[in-house]
């Protein structure tokens, strides 16, 4: 579902906001219903008041001027009054009970004329009776309006037998009619949404910190521990994470020390074997034995370099990166004179960076060695600083690497199928060492297949 956000913060915020809106709407509805009741009551009160005034006027006016006196009374909209010989309310639709309730008919009947003003002329007996207890069906009739509109039709018998017909349509309730209503609603919603987002972000921040810390630990086992503060759940999670990190650190350290110890201890037997080889009579066998020993030594050297993480101990100093790249290319050419034409350097003649020269040289030499061994060529290209990065690229003409294996080759002792048994040999540590060194410099090593074929290894360094 597209509207369902992917982040925890987003989801929590969405749930809270939807809940908030539901509560808001419910509250507003209750408020609106109250408002309708109050409006109805007010309208009924007003109409009752007017009816009282009408009756009083009609009763006390002399019949000749009665009509004009009734007309003079200011009536609210929807209310009309007229004098007639017949009670119009008789036989109309019955007044709906809610309206009857609202007008309080039944308890006290329609409001009677005020008692004290009862008699300039002698009132007829009917009037007196009505004063005592006006009765529906004799002294007055009341009915609902046609079409069930809110309101009523009231016919009141005047003392002389004429009827006063009052047609009152109550104004329909307007629960939402308020100029400040919309503004208030929007302001409340916006304020609540803002607070919700802020609070949710604050609450989910520890989760993000944890993710960041895990990411850092993946790159560097010695990354700083998480602060074990905040809400108790967060502090517990941070403490658990730190414990895990220190166990991993311990494990890596043990393994590193083991590798270093093995590397160290192998040096003495290899030295002895080399010396013994010098006393062999068979020249061919001796040469082969020495070559085997050289290979072993190379593997031990790489293992030791990887285990010791030399880049971490060598001090950084200003170094000419262009000279370094040329030196690596030249040394590769010196070691394999037949490959000289496959090796090249392209870039500025000088570029000073702050780096650890021995380590950096080793990293580049590893990449150049790989390119030469598996790609048949090594063209080193130095790109001057751009976007805060210096790039040093090594291109080859080999078959490249399947995209799925691009990261796997950076794992120690991982070699691609096919290279393990080939004469190219290799320790499976060249790329991991190069990456460790570059990451210790704040850069990285990445691989990519070139569109034109072959592989390009890119070293990046912060400019």
């Amino acid at each position: 579902m597209r509207l369902w956000p992917s982040s925890l913060a987003g989801r929590t915020a969405l749930v809270l906001l939807v809940g908030l809106i539901v509560v808001q709407v419910a509250g507003l509805t209750i408020h609106a219903l109250d408002r309708v009741d109050i409006q109805n009551l007010a309208a009924a009160r007003l109409s009752a008041e007017r009816v009282r005034a009408l009756i009083r006027t009609a009763v006390f006016s002399p019949p000749a001027s009665r009509e004009s006196a009734v007309d003079d009374i200011d009536l609210p909209p929807g209310m009309t009054a007229e004098l007639s010989d017949v009670p119009e309310a008789r036989g109309g639709p019955p007044l709906p009970p809610p309206m009857r309730e609202l007008l309080r008919i039944g308890a006290a009947g329609p409001p009677p004329p005020p008692r004290g003003q009862a008699a300039p002329s002698s009132p007829p007996p009917a009037h007196r009776r009505m004063q005592l207890r006006p009765r529906e069906g004799r002294d007055y009739f009341i009915s609902g309006l046609e079409g069930r509109r809110p309101g009523y039709l009231l016919s009141v018998r005047l003392p002389d037998g004429a009827w006063l017909n009052v047609h009152a349509a109550l104004p329909p309730p307007r629960p939402w009619h308020s100029p400040t209503f919309l503004i208030a609603f929007i302001l409340m919603t916006v304020a609540a949404a803002g607070l919700t987002l802020w609070a949710v972000r604050r609450l989910t921040r520890p989760v993000r910190l944890l993710a960041d810390a895990a990411e850092r630990l993946g790159r560097d086992v010695n990354a700083a521990p998480l602060p074990e503060t905040g809400p108790s759940e967060v502090a517990t999670a941070a403490a658990a994470f730190n414990t895990m990190a220190s166990r991993i650190r311990r494990f890596v350290q043990d393994r590193t020390e083991m590798l270093a110890a093995i590397g160290h201890d192998l040096r003495t037997p290899i030295t002895r074997l080399r010396l013994r080889a010098e006393f062999m009579d068979d020249d061919e066998q001796r040469a082969k034995m020495l070559a085997d020993l050289a290979e072993m030594e190379k593997m031990i050297g790489a293992t030791l370099a990887f285990a010791r993480d030399e880049a971490a101990t060598e001090p950084a100093t200003p170094v000419d990166l262009a000279g370094l790249a040329r030196t690596v290319v030249d040394e590769a050419a010196d070691a394999a004179p037949e490959a000289t034409e496959k090796l090249s350097y392209d870039g500025p003649s000088h570029l000073t960076v702050r780096a650890r020269p021995v380590a950096l040289k080793r990293a580049l030499a590893n990449l150049v060695g790989n390119a030469l061994a598996y790609g048949g060529a090594a063209r080193v290209r130095l790109v001057p600083p751009s976007n805060g990065q210096i790039r040093l690229m090594v291109e080859d003409d080999g078959p490249g690497i399947p995209a799925a294996d691009m990261e796997r080759v950076f794992q120690p002792f991982q070699r691609l199928e096919g290279s393990r048994n080939r004469e190219t040999g290799g320790t499976g540590l060249g790329l991991p060492i190069a990456r460790n060194i570059l990451r210790a410099h704040g850069g990285d090593v990445t691989l990519a297949n070139r569109p034109a074929g072959g592989l390009v290894a890119t070293m990046t360094l912060p400019a």
């Binding site: 030295t271 080399r274 010396l275 006393f279 000279g323 040329r326 030196t327 040394e331 010196d334 040289k361």
Partner: protein
């Protein structure tokens, strides 16, 4: 070769097998060898041995190789070739700064060790008529600084300019003999200890690379000059900083 003329070498290594094999190997190649187990025995042998060179393992139980090297330096100028542990860069640098003449990382190639021993003996013999210069800590020339122990070259701005092993050894050979013309043959001879199989053109290639890295115009070089008749000379005044002057 007359027996008396064979140089006498003191081998100090704690591993008995290596000690014996190395002694046999060096003797097979015309050197006289006394092999001892540790620094204590070595000290006993020193006064009467008339050694021309000491092969010293730095990793030994008891007194360390570095302490023994320091002791040798304070009492004599006998050249020292160190056997350093692979990956122990600091030991190597300290050793060279103490005044050791050369080093071979362990596990070493015996032939390379032999070549180094011969190169150091030759250098010492070269200077036998005058007082032997102790290995220098640094050479200063035309603003450049060459540090043998750290095997690095700094340009006048203090920026390290990386060199290949061959380029470095060539520049060092020239810096050790300033204003002296060195023929290709002499240079080849001096570099033989280091390089696997240096050939004639390698010297010219290394010089042209050096000039490019040092911004020395190849058509009108100012630092490394070509001498007609086949040789090179470092044409600058070289200030030599001896190890003793600034040892830490």
């Amino acid at each position: 070769m007359v027996m008396e003329a064979a140089p006498h070498i003191l081998v100090v290594d704690d591993d008995r097998e290596i000690r014996d094999l190395l002694a046999r190997f060096l003797e097979k190649h015309g050197l006289r060898v006394t092999a001892v187990r540790d620094a204590r025995e070595a000290r006993r042998m020193l006064p009467n041995g008339h050694f021309q060179l000491i092969v010293l393992d730095l990793m030994m139980p008891g007194e360390s190789g570095l302490d023994f090297a320091r002791f040798v330096r304070t009492t004599s100028g006998t050249p020292i070739v160190m056997l350093t542990a692979m990956g122990e860069e600091t030991d190597r640098i300290i050793g060279l700064e103490l005044g050791a003449d050369d080093y071979v990382p362990k596990p070493f190639n015996p032939r390379e060790l032999l070549a180094r021993i011969r190169a150091v003996l030759r250098r010492a013999g070269e200077a036998s008529d005058r007082k032997r210069d102790l290995p220098a800590r640094a050479f200063h020339f035309a603003g450049w600084v060459l540090e043998p122990a750290r095997r690095r070259l700094l340009n006048p701005d203090g920026v390290e300019v990386p060199l290949t092993g061959g380029e470095f050894d060539l520049l060092l050979a020239l810096a050790e003999r300033p204003n002296r013309v060195l023929t290709r043959d002499m240079l080849l001879d001096l570099l033989r200890g280091r390089q696997a199989g240096p050939f004639d053109r390698a010297i010219d290639v290394a010089v042209s690379r050096l000039r490019r890295k040092m911004e020395d115009d190849g058509r009108n070089p100012q630092v490394i000059k070509t001498v007609r008749g086949g040789g090179y000379v470092l044409a600058a005044s070289v200030e030599r900083v001896a190890v003793a002057d600034s040892a830490p």
